[in-house]
Amino acid sequence: MASLTSGPGTPVPGTPVHVRVKRKTFPAIGGRDENTVLRDVSFEVSPREFVVLTGPSGCGKSTLLNIVAGLDTDYEGQIDLGSANPRMTFIFQTPRLLPWRTIRENLMLSLPDGDRRQDNVDAILDRVGLTEAKNAYPERTSLGMQRRAALARGFIQEPDILLMDEPFVSLDDPTAHGLRELLVDLWNSRPTTVMFVTHDRTEAVMLGTRILRLAAGSASIKADESVRLSPSDRTDREKVQAELKRIFESLPET
């Protein structure tokens, strides 16, 4: 559905994703007190929006994505994914590849047998620079390679909703840059709603159309800002830095 009008920021048909988490509590175990991680975290994500979630380590970002992905159902609140059965992909904070299957087999297994998307496996592995390593077992490759394999596995799904949890950490700058470009390409070529967790403010401003900041300790939303940059501004270092200042220094970390 390539259309000239559906660039970032342009409204696209579809219903928004509603996230309403009233309370998420981990039970007390092993001498640890009951731990309320999220409280009153509610927001809406429009179709095709690229929402970046930031916040201090341990504030509950991964927990939130787990809830949105439907992997954690033990919470008070409600998640409404908009359309009836959207295709959702979650790129976890760790690669989570099957160690007893090669990288290529891992990608093939993530799709139903005989699915059309299986034909793209080699191309996407090439895009993330894994052509040489695709027949290796994951544990015999580097962590960065495993991360790239996990990204390729997520991207090949052609998801409607893409959740990503710090996907580009522990990669060198050029590799991370190439993968960000791949992500933007993917996002431009298909209507994808993205929720993206990162600690990297520059990355947040470069990629996101909107930045949600969570507060530490029983996190709620501390700030919700739109990123006011055009696609061409995003490659301009100075404009990115200025926007970063505007967003993050208006309300410094406490």
Partner: protein, 260 residues
């Protein structure tokens, strides 16, 4: 890891073979020496034992007894693996079941083999099935404990991944669950075989079975016929080692081949 071993796996195998053969040859030499020095009917030398082994082979008795015993070993082994695996997976997956059955497991683990065998014969009679059951029951708690450990260590990260990518029950079992359990099953199989084949002989000796290596050794023991005892023991060790090296070890390295 030694670099030379990585570069030439063939050389490493040859080296290992050399040491194994040297050590075995030394053992045989010591045995021959001891037999020679004591010069007793109760400690025959290797030559004498090989002679008896040859006679038993020629008469067909060796193979007849061996095959009966091996069938019993195989039946008891598979029965124990099957039941032990099922028990282990259930108690490893459900905390309640584990809490409840843990003490049963401890009890059966510590029950002497002889007690299980004796009670089996008393309660079930001296049938072929009893013999197999008695051996299997000795082994089941071991398998269950090892498989419980495997089930406890099943990765939640991976099962979430499988859920996310809609693996479904069959694909999850085949590509996620079983590969995680396989190393535990392989370890249980190896230690299982070692236990089962020793207990089978005791069961055969006690149960008054008319055939089997255990029966043969028991009969020889009645006559203080040490050469026959040693001949059967030797033949049996060789067969079990063939199974160990030919089947179980390759199986174990196969299920672990993806490891670093």
């Amino acid at each position: 890891m030694h670099p030379a071993r990585k570069l030439s796996p063939g050389g490493a195998t040859a080296e290992r073979l050399f040491w194994t053969l040297t050590s075995l040859a030394t053992l045989v030499a010591l045995w021959a020496l001891a037999a020679n020095l004591t010069d007793s009917r109760h400690l025959p030398g290797p030559i004498k034992v090989l002679e008896v082994l040859g006679q038993e082979m020629a008469s067909g008795a060796l193979w007849a007894n061996m095959s009966v015993t091996l069938v019993r070993v195989a039946c008891a082994f598979f029965l124990a693996m099957l039941i032990g695996t099922m028990i282990g997976i259930v108690i490893g997956s459900y905390k309640r079941a584990d809490q409840f059955f843990d003490s049963w497991l401890v009890l059966f683990l510590n029950l002497p083999a002889l007690v299980i065998i004796a009670l089996s014969y008393v309660w079930l009679g001296t049938t072929e099935l009893t013999a197999i059951m008695a051996v299997a029951i000795n082994k089941i708690p071991n398998v269950a404990v090892q498989m419980r450990e495997g089930a406890r260590q099943l990765s939640r990260d991976l099962s979430e991944m499988a859920q996310l990518y809609n693996f479904g029950p069959w694909k999850t079992l085949r590509h996620v669950t079983l590969p995680q359990l396989a190393p535990f099953a392989a370890a249980a199989a190896r230690s299982g075989l070692a236990l089962v084949w020793k207990i089978v002989l005791v069961v055969e000796a006690l149960g008054g079975h008319a055939t089997g290596v255990g029966h043969q050794i028991h009969a020889a023991f009645g006559n203080y016929d040490v050469p026959t005892i040693l001949a059967y023991a030797l033949a049996f060790i060789v067969v079990i080692q063939i199974v160990e090296f030919g089947v179980l070890q390759p199986l174990q390295s196969r299920v672990n081949r993806w490891r670093r």
